[in-house]
């Protein structure tokens, strides 16, 4: 019951500042829409680029959204209460990252349908694309949260976060884009999707410990 109260809190707050949360989603749509403008709008070219473009844009959008994850809680003192709560901090951050993904990551996954259409990504492969993002974006959320936990106390943390986290996201990008790319040409996609699934399990089980440790360090002084 205490966990549902915490999820409810995050969802309610998210709803009340939904404009702010829409930023990463709008960023995702605009960035992907820029590619046909900058490149040759030839459908065959766009089709080849689509998996990579969608995945890179989704990755950046998720990381941008992660900066706000602990910021307001840090500024208004709520984070101190979470650290002082008898509930294990790892549980609290797991829920926090999950609800944050629900409101920032999940809309991206759904909107990628629209972007796939825009970039002439083959419609019979769209299931694999969605699935790869569905498995991949939560991993990015967890990685971003590790960065956010370490940069929350810094005034200039906004740019530091992507620099810290981007190198760690490379495996997710490789397997995610591979799954989407293979599906587009009709190749089997099970292998990269299994890899994404395995990484997601690792992220869910290990990242909360890293995030909790990061928050404890950030709030120490």
């Amino acid at each position: 019951m205490k966990f549902t109260a915490l999820i409810e809190r995050d969802l309610r707050l998210a709803y009340r500042r939904r404009g702010e949360l829409a930023t990463p989603v709008i960023f995702f749509v605009i960035v992907t829409a820029l590619f046909p403008l900058a490149l040759n709008p030839d459908p065959a070219l766009l089709r080849t680029l689509a998996p990579g473009v969608i995945w890179v844009a989704a990755l950046l959008a998720v990381l941008i959204g992660q900066d706000s994850l602990f910021k307001t809680d840090y500024e208004d003192g709520s984070l101190e209460l979470m650290l002082l709560s008898p509930i294990t901090l790892e549980w609290i951050v797991l829920l926090r990252v999950f609800t944050h993904w629900l409101v920032t990551g999940l809309p991206l996954v759904i909107l990628s349908l629209l972007i796939a259409l825009l970039l002439d990504y083959p419609m019979q492969a769209v299931g694999a694309l969605i699935l790869s993002l569905f498995l991949g974006t939560p991993i990015l959320s967890f990685l971003g949260a590790v960065g956010a936990s370490l940069t929350v106390g810094l005034r200039r943390g906004v740019m530091l976060l992507p620099i810290l986290v981007l190198p760690l996201t490379v495996p997710v990008l490789i397997f995610g884009a591979a799954a989407a790319g293979r599906a587009a040409v009709g190749d089997p996609v099970a292998a990269p999707l299994y890899f994404l699934g395995a990484m997601l399990m690792l992220a869910i089980t290990l990242a909360p410990f890293a995030i909790a440790a990061g928050l404890r360090i950030s709030l120490e002084s």
Partner: protein, 211 residues
Amino acid sequence: MDHEDQLSVDNLSIWRGERCLCRDLSFRVSSGEALQVQGHNGAGKTTLIRVLTGLGRADAGEVRWRGQTLRRCADEYRGSLAYLGHNNGVKLGLSPRENIAVASALLAVPITSNVDAVLEKVGLRTHADLPCGMLSMGQRRRTALARLLLANVRLWFLDEPLASLDVAGVTLLTGMLKTHLTGGGIVVFATHQTMDLAPCPVKTVMLETSA
């Protein structure tokens, strides 16, 4: 003696950068006692209170609760303390009632039906369902004070608890502290104003600024 509610500090030293905030500080606070941390601005009152809650880290010395070091009894310790810092820990996007629900969840106490009684007590009954962002600073502070009444924890840490409270608010808080102390609780607080907690015993610890 060891099982009694007692916060004991032995030879505590805290450094922040090149500055020594306290050196070899030792004191005991037992059930029913209050401890006032004194010192002028920048003397390290907030830092000391944060170290006592376990949020901050000391460079030397030990803080013990019921005879055990904080590292040994971290979970139990967090379950027996309430903290009110400079920041209220109140979400401005949520109403006092919703904030109290969140606070109960974080304190791991059931959201009891007495939320209304608690709101009444801190004087927020009529504003219970407005977002805290629309309330005054004093009313936000009162929302934070409500947290202290939710759980029956032994240790209260209050950092400048009187900030932005009006006269009625000060009376309210003083009353809350006295009730807590006579009930066998412990209060550690830092304030620049005078707070009359008589007849409850108040110890003081003075932080000197040293080079």
